[in-house]
């Protein structure tokens, strides 16, 4: 049986007494590449923040790497790229290297400077995202896509086993998006990192991920075969409403040799 990385049981949460997630159950196994989609306001980001312990649930249990989240300490096993990562203060006087190294906080320890092993990790993370030549650049001198890569490198510097990305392609051009998806594919297949990708781009996500989870109306719908979701009008209607077919009509996606007009 596959090792569970995230296990969510009967999770409920809401704002101002109004539930936005109700009795959610989800299991993500090691090596998974899960796409998390849903309409605006379906609590995708909230769900991720709950699984990371950033916000506390009303009810339910969350287990990370087999441990209850309340006692989980190995946060270095988890890399997280927040939705608004690219909109942080880019006028901040920090180099690419300084930002990536900041995430080694636990490993370096207080009152200690970066050692050679830490510097090697920073370089390795920057090589992975293709920014090694820009390590001395200020973050404010980079393009939107490059800034996003810096944050990916920051998440990767701890060599995480689980990587969560919340809308990573916002503000990134098509070429940059393609590079990002290829990188995630490589991380999942070659580095065996479990990836959870939140996105609005249903067509592209469906083509890239191994499993698909859809959040809508406080519920979660999980599809072990992503194209089961796209190929069924009932599924689309259940998650996005009747107008969805028109909405993504022009997306032609290829997956495993099959072509779909979604």
């Amino acid at each position: 049986m596959s090792v569970s990385v995230i296990e969510v049981q009967n999770l409920s949460f809401g704002y101002n007494a109004k539930p936005i997630l109700n009795n959610i159950n989800l299991r993500v196994n090691a090596g998974d590449f899960l796409g998390l989609i849903g309409p605006n306001g379906s609590a995708k980001t909230t769900f991720i923040k709950l699984t990371l312990g950033i916000i506390k649930p009303w009810r339910g249990q969350i287990r990370l790497f087999g441990q209850d989240i309340t006692v989980f300490k190995r946060w270095d096993k988890i890399g997280y790229l927040a939705q608004r990562a690219a909109s942080v203060n880019i006028g901040f006087p920090a180099t690419v290297e300084e930002i990536v190294a900041a995430n080694l906080y636990r490993q370096i320890g207080r009152l200690r400077a970066l050692k050679k092993t830490h510097q090697t990790k920073v370089q390795s993370a920057l090589e992975t995202v293709g920014l090694i030549n820009k390590r001395k650049c200020l973050i404010g001198n980079l393009s939107g896509g490059e800034v996003q890569k810096v944050f990916i490198a920051r998440a990767l510097v701890n060599e995480p086993e689980l990587f969560l990305l919340d809308e990573p392609t916002v503000g990134v051009d098509l070429k940059g998006q393609e590079g990002l998806y290829e990188l995630l594919d490589r991380l999942n297949k070659q580095w065996h990192i479990t990836v959870i990708l939140i996105s609005h781009d249903v067509g592209v996500v469906t083509a890239r991920v191994k499993r698909l989870a859809c959040l809508n109306d406080t519920q979660i719908f999980v599809f072990d075969q992503p194209f089961d979701f796209l190929s069924s009008p009932d599924n689309l209607a259940k998650v996005y409403g009747q107008g969805m077919q028109t909405l993504i009509h022009c997306h032609q996606v290829n997956c495993k040799g099959r072509s779909f007009n979604a």
């Binding site: 946060w75 270095d76 927040a82 920090a94 906080y105 636990r106 009152l111």
Partner: protein, 271 residues
């Protein structure tokens, strides 16, 4: 020029000036980057109430200012959490409260209104050994804390959510930063005066940011600019018999203008 150092009060003023020249931009960089530049002003206004309270109660006014500013720092942090979308509201509330309290206390103790003048604009003549000792202790606490927590302060200043996930105790670090700001102002008011203290925390940082360097280089340059301003400002204050708060901040503004003009010249366009 060195003959001025034969006077004890001038040595005290310079020693105290060098300490505040280091600690003001050290804390200022973090509050500027967290977009909390006005926090210095808010705490300075509270310090006026603290000085007045100290004089009324017969305790050392800087201690009165420090106690009230630490309390105000706790309130600001609490209000920042309450009004998360309007963090600057916390600063406005504390600034107004501090000023109103100061006005009330000054009205009650009208007899000490002349001595409060030295706390408003700073003074060289009044820096005694007790002041120097207090400034020295506060300086050591501030520098040691920043060195000890530099990685946490950097991460929290850059991005709180990521820092929290990396295991940094964000709430505690934010609280420590505000308390350090209160300590910095308490150490600075004797020389620079409460009206201009926050300027010394902000302007050398603004100058250093124009150099567009990495974080630690920006910090070092901010301290250098600040030290230059303090030394230049003190010399000017001594020879022209002016209030040092004004001359120090004037010097730091001149440096900022110089850097901006140099950049405009180098780039061939106005900045």
């Amino acid at each position: 020029m060195l003959e001025i150092f034969q006077y004890g009060f001038i040595r005290h003023a310079f020693m105290a000036g060098l300490i505040i020249g280091i600690i003001c931009p050290l804390i200022g960089l973090f509050i500027v980057l967290k977009r909390l530049s006005m926090i210095g002003d808010a705490l300075s206004h509270v310090s006026l109430a603290g000085v007045a309270a100290g004089m009324l109660l017969g305790i050392y006014p800087v201690y009165g200012a420090l106690i009230l500013m630490l309390l105000a720092g706790l309130i600001i942090e609490r209000l920042r959490n309450t009004y998360q979308q309007y963090a600057e509201l916390a600063i406005a509330v504390v600034l107004s409260s501090g000023m109103s309290l100061a006005v009330i206390l000054l009205s009650v103790g009208q007899s000490f209104n002349t001595s409060i003048f030295t706390y408003l604009f700073g003074s060289i003549l009044t820096v005694n050994k007790h002041d120097l000792f207090t400034i020295g202790i506060l300086g050591i606490i501030i520098v040691a804390t920043v060195v000890f927590l530099r990685k946490e302060l950097f991460f929290v200043t850059f991005e709180e959510e990521a820092a929290r996930l990396a295991g940094v105790p964000v709430t505690l670090i934010n609280l420590i930063l505000i308390l350090l700001t209160a300590c910095t102002i308490a150490a600075t008011i004797r020389i620079v005066g409460m009206l201009l203290t926050s300027s010394l925390m902000v302007i050398p940082v603004a100058t250093s940011l124009q150099l567009k360097k990495g974080f630690y280089h920006t910090l070092i340059f901010a301290v250098l600019f600040s030290l230059l301003a303090v030394i230049g400002g003190l010399i000017l204050a001594i020879y022209l018999n002016l209030a040092p708060g004004g001359t120090i901040v004037f010097f730091s503004v001149l440096m900022l203008l110089f850097i901006l003009l140099m950049q405009a010249k180098l780039l061939g366009r106005p900045q």
